[in-house]
């Protein structure tokens, strides 16, 4: 770690100016829960850290034009504790609520979770299933990208944190009949990365799935969408347990988890995904039944 400066900008323009001044040798830091460890272990380099946590214009979240706008300074704790988010985006709420421990959730951000680009990052998996987009600012201007398109390989984000700022995550407001769910399997309850995790977002009408998005991890180099399982979802009656199991089975088949001496062998993790997807579909069925 060879950090020469630690900067605390107060608004986005100032932040961009600092990034430019360091010409690619500076780097954004939010909660620091990933970055500090990466710097310590030599997995990331930076000569200046630019701390985004004091920027007023990156704080908070709100619903705007049929979108939830989660600005980059928002922590897992803030998002998981918000009643409105819990109601409309239970998948996101639950995913954020299962990150690490209270201490981690109090400082770690959703934006950092996305940019760190791990395949099973809890919030990122939920955001991919929810079809969230990222609003990215650089000296070249502003752009919007689907979160799922931000991945460039294991741990590689297409967002360059030495030149660009992820200013907000934009999540569409669910329409009537849309439900979303999230779940994970881990050996213990806190401070534990998932062996597998998954989020689903389904459009339903009259107890039947019209279409659905599934994201799961860690089974690929990024949050993974099982195409065949998503296709199989179409037209499934949520009451039909056998059909739900079948979707779970297909998703498990499509996944390609690694054999891991710590997280379990591939076959076992595939089985966990099969069960997890089916259980999540059952949860979704219960949710739609409640709403009906």
């Amino acid at each position: 770690m060879n950090i020469q400066d630690y900067l605390v900008p107060h608004h986005v323009d100032e932040c961009l100016a600092m990034l430019n001044a360091w010409g690619g040798r500076g780097r954004l830091v939010a909660g620091g829960t990933d970055l500090v460890a990466s710097l310590e272990y030599g997995k990331a380099q930076a000569e200046a850290l630019i701390d985004i946590s004091a920027m007023e214009d990156l704080m908070g979240f709100e619903i705007q034009d049929h979108e939830l706008v989660v600005r980059a300074g928002s922590t897992h704790r803030q998002v998981s504790a918000a009643p409105r988010i819990r109601q409309l985006w239970p998948a996101l709420s639950k995913a954020c609520g299962s990150v690490g421990s209270p201490q981690i959730r109090n400082v770690a951000t959703l934006a950092g979770n996305v940019v760190n680009a791990q395949p099973a990052a809890d919030a990122a998996v939920a955001l991919v299933a929810l079809g969230a987009r990222a609003e990215i600012l650089s000296s070249g201007g502003r752009r919007l990208e689907a979160v799922e398109n931000l991945y460039g390989g294991l741990g590689q984000s297409r967002i360059d944190s030495s030149r660009e700022i992820l200013v907000a995550l934009r999540v569409p407001v669910p329409d009537a009949g849309e439900v979303n769910v999230y779940g994970r399997v881990s050996p213990r309850n806190s401070l534990c990365l998932p062996i597998v995790n998954a989020a689903l977002s389904l459009k339903t009408a009259g107890g039947t799935v019209l279409s659905g998005r599934i994201a799961m991890g860690p089974v690929s180099d990024r949050p993974f969408r099982p195409e065949r399982a998503e296709a199989a979802l179409q037209g499934v009656a949520l009451k039909d347990r056998a059909a739900l199991s079948e979707v779970g089975r297909i998703a498990g088949e499509e996944a390609n988890p690694r054999d891991s001496c710590l997280r379990g062998c591939s076959d076992y993790r595939r089985q966990l995904l099969t069960v997890l997807i089916r259980t999540l579909l059952e949860d979704a069925a219960a949710q739609t039944a409640e709403e009906a």
Partner: protein
């Protein structure tokens, strides 16, 4: 009815507790000495390799570096325990990934770390041994050239005629069990500070469990006399057996400090703690057990193969415990054990809460359930039928002076039965079960004819406050609290008025240290006896002041009075002032070296070797998801025979902690190696229990009033962990009908056992 006491058995604030929670306690890393340097150690990245060359010149030239050492610069005196095979640094070859190769002392930790990178070591890789089974094979490469067959130690222990007894049994069952490699993972990393004093004496600050053992071992490694060395023990942030013995870094810091002529601090990093500390001795234990139709346990034949790692520390003694102790839990007629301890190219294994007894309990207590189920009997009834009882002389010669095993079993069974959840959920994927396991342990452990006691010195001050000197470390288990309570009870003063001194080998009386769950029992007894002597001095002087006979006097809450005539009295403080400030010249001081009335085991390991034996039964309720194999421990009822509870809160604390540590081992703790390198060397991926994973725990204190221990007390430190793994294994079988024989009992193993048609991971 047991006698009621003023202080013993009462809730009392833990000594030093508020300093810890307010951050005032001084741990090793809080100590800063003027001019102090920081040390780092270069460790072998290879499990087994010949050292071709070590070039430290570039490191030595780095600005800020004040000393660089490797084997060539150090005394080559072997140190260690039963089999002293350790050297300060690896000399001709490295024997495990983590072996000490060189060390640096520099102005800052960062410079020291940079300097390590400049040390050039050339290795020639050698074939490495990762399991004792491989190591014991004919023609296996040797870990130590002078240790043929890689055998560290073997034992054959036989009582009665096992073969004849098997022939007469209705059932004979045989099973093999295995325990995993786990680390004590205390909160505070281990370390030391060394400073040379003007008269060529050496001071070492280190948070160690046995200060006097450390002093003699450091002296041995450095070729000094123990009395040239002072060991001072600051506050300790957990130890669990992992800090009983010295590590190589102790002589290393001393030599770095000598070379640099400045004090040197060394603290292990967490990855070093994982890779180079002293994990629990992993063992494969095969048991053949003979029983009668009515559930009588008759005989047992056990074969143990255990992993010593690359250098021998406490593993020989641990394997001895593993080979003996569970034999004395039930009334076996005959037993035979053959044990082998082998060198491997892995981290040296050593003591960790249970000291071998936890491994053998996992095997035996799992075995009892397996056998009882096969014979169609209730495993708990089988235990009750065979449990040792007070007054027994066990087949290894233990005299069971107090024993609440039966009561523990009955109470744990009743407690777990209360409020049980349904055995299966309506959708059928969640199943629940209960399991129970017992345990016996020691409170002290006499090695041969050695001292197995403790010493204590108590001294009144002129203001009536008492100072208590002792040598048994408080690593968080509450030794200081218990000692203060015992002294206060005996002297009739308030525990707040007892100052329990920190350990300094120049001042503290000689003691062996905090292990074998012995401190309350033997150090407590020494403190009790010393307090009694001072009480006599106190009352004798008070008698002259009160013009009464000493035998008519009593002392309570700091006041001495004539029995019956309670109004006529004098405060302890006034008597102390008279003793010290006047020409009465009464010392009000006593030094007692106490040794318990046990004979110790003979060469055949027969004999009564512990002041007291402790007993427990823990029952657990678990929940298993049959689709994923996931397990949750829901509840634990932990009944422990502690003789007499001196500090009930302390006992509950030990039980909660033991349950947590035991459950972690049962469910997921496991050091996983690939090619000799540890894969989970951080808290990120070494999975232990967190607060949110804790089951509901019901501690049940069973009091049997031991005739030897102070106020009837026995130990509790290690026992609370020991029954957890087998209790969980037994509950899992009760819930879903599968028996997991190797720790940890992971969800994955349960899944593959429930789905035998699926192919599990190659193990």
């Amino acid at each position: 009815m047991m006698e009621e006491y003023a202080v013993v058995g009462k809730a009392f604030r833990s000594v030093g507790g508020s300093d810890k929670v307010t951050g005032r306690a001084q741990y090793l890393d809080d100590i800063e000495l003027p001019g102090m340097l920081h040390a780092k150690i270069l460790r072998s990245p290879h499990a087994h390799a010949r050292i071709l060359k070590i070039d430290t010149s570039k490191a030595a030239a780095l600005p800020g570096v004040k000393a660089v050492l490797s084997a060539v610069d150090c005394p080559k005196l072997p140190f260690g325990l039963d089999v002293p095979d350790a050297r300060i640094f690896a000399e001709t070859k490295v024997r495990y990934a983590g072996d000490e190769v060189a060390a640096v002392a520099a102005e800052t930790p960062k410079i020291a770390r940079e300097a390590l990178k400049l040390i050039d070591v050339r290795y020639e890789l050698l074939p490495a041994l990762f399991s004792p089974q491989e190591a014991l094979q004919e023609g296996a490469p040797l870990v130590h050239e002078d240790k043929p067959g890689n055998l560290v130690k073997s034992y054959v222990i036989e009582r009665g005629d096992v073969d004849a007894d098997f022939a007469a049994c209705d059932y004979v069952f045989e099973e093999e069990f295995a325990s995993s490699r786990v680390t004590a993972c205390y909160l505070e990393p281990f370390g030391a500070i060394a400073r040379w004093e003007p008269d060529n004496r050496l001071t070492i600050w280190t948070g160690i469990q046995g200060a006097f053992q450390a002093r003699s071992e450091i002296a041995r490694a450095l070729g000094m006399n123990p009395s040239q060395i002072t060991v001072k023990v600051p506050a300790i942030g957990g130890a669990f057996g992992g800090k009983i013995w010295i590590r190589n870094f102790h002589p290393i810091v001393a030599l770095l400090a000598k070379e640099a002529r400045r004090p040197v601090k060394f603290v292990l990093t967490r990855p070093e703690e994982f890779a180079a500390s002293r994990p629990r001795v992993p063992a494969k234990i095969k048991i053949k057990l003979g029983m009668l139709k009515d559930g009588t346990l008759v005989c047992k034949d056990t074969a143990i193969v255990a992993d010593n790692g690359a250098y021998s520390w406490a593993a020989p003694k641990i394997v001895l415990n593993m080979s003996l102790r569970t034999d004395c839990l039930y009334r076996f007629k005959s037993v035979r054990t053959r044990s082998y301890l082998a060198y491997t190219n892995t981290t040296p294994t050593s003591g960790f809460r249970g000291y071998g007894n936890a491994q053998s309990h996992f095997a035996q207590e799992s075995m009892i359930d397996v056998c009882a189920r096969k014979a169609g009997l209730d495993p708990v009834e089988v235990r009750l039928k065979n449990a040792v009882r007070q007054g027994d002389l066990t087949l290894h010669g233990w005299k069971v002076r107090s024993c609440g095993l039966t009561e523990c079993i009955e109470k744990a069974r009743a407690a777990i039965a209360r409020g049980r959840k349904p055995q299966a959920d309506p959708n059928g994927t969640v199943k629940r079960g209960i399991g129970l396991a017992c345990m016996n342990h020691v409170s002290g452990n006499r090695a041969g004819n050695n001292f197995d006691g403790s010493s204590s010195m108590v001294r009144f001050q002129e203001d009536g406050k008492l100072v208590l000197y002792h040598g048994e470390s408080d690593m968080g288990q509450g030794a200081r609290t218990v000692l203060a309570q015992i002294a206060a009870e005996t002297l009739g003063i308030r525990p707040e008025d007892v100052l329990v001194m920190p350990i300094d080998t120049d001042v503290s009386p000689f003691c062996f240290g905090s292990y074998s769950s012995r401190v309350t029992t033997v150090a407590g007894k020494a403190a009790y006896l010393a307090s009694l002597q001072v009480r006599e001095q106190l009352l004798k002087l008070a008698a002259t002041l009160l013009e009464a006979a000493p035998e008519d006097l009593d002392v309570r809450e700091g006041r001495i009075f004539v029995r019956g005539g309670e109004r006529k009295g004098i405060s302890v403080a006034d008597v102390c002032k008279s003793a010290i400030r006047t020409r009465a010249t009464v010392g009000l001081t006593a030094y007692v070296a106490y040794d318990p009335p046990t004979e110790g085991a003979n060469e055949d390991f027969y004999g009564d070797y512990s002041s007291a034996y402790t007993y427990a039964a823990q029952a657990v309720e678990v929940e298993v998801n049959t689709e994923t194999g996931q397990i949750r421990v829901l509840r634990v009822a932990a009944a422990h025979d502690v003789g007499r509870a001196i500090n009930p809160n302390g006992i509950r604390g030990q039980i909660y902690g033991g349950v947590a540590q035991g459950a972690g081992w049962a469910l997921y703790e496991n050091m996983v190696y690939e090619g000799g390198r540890l894969q989970n060397n951080s808290l990120r991926n070494y999975t232990m229990v967190t607060a949110t994973d804790m089951p509901e725990v019901e501690p049940i204190i069973v009091e049997t009033q031991d005739p030897v221990g102070p106020y009837g007390a026995k130990g509790i430190g290690e026992p609370a962990l020991i029954p957890m793994p087998p209790a969980v294994a037994n509950a899992v079988e009760d819930a879903v009908g599968v028996r997991i024989r190797d720790l940890p009992i992971t969800a994955e193993k349960i899944y593959f056992s429930l789905n035998p048609e699926c192919e599990g991971p190659a193990s």
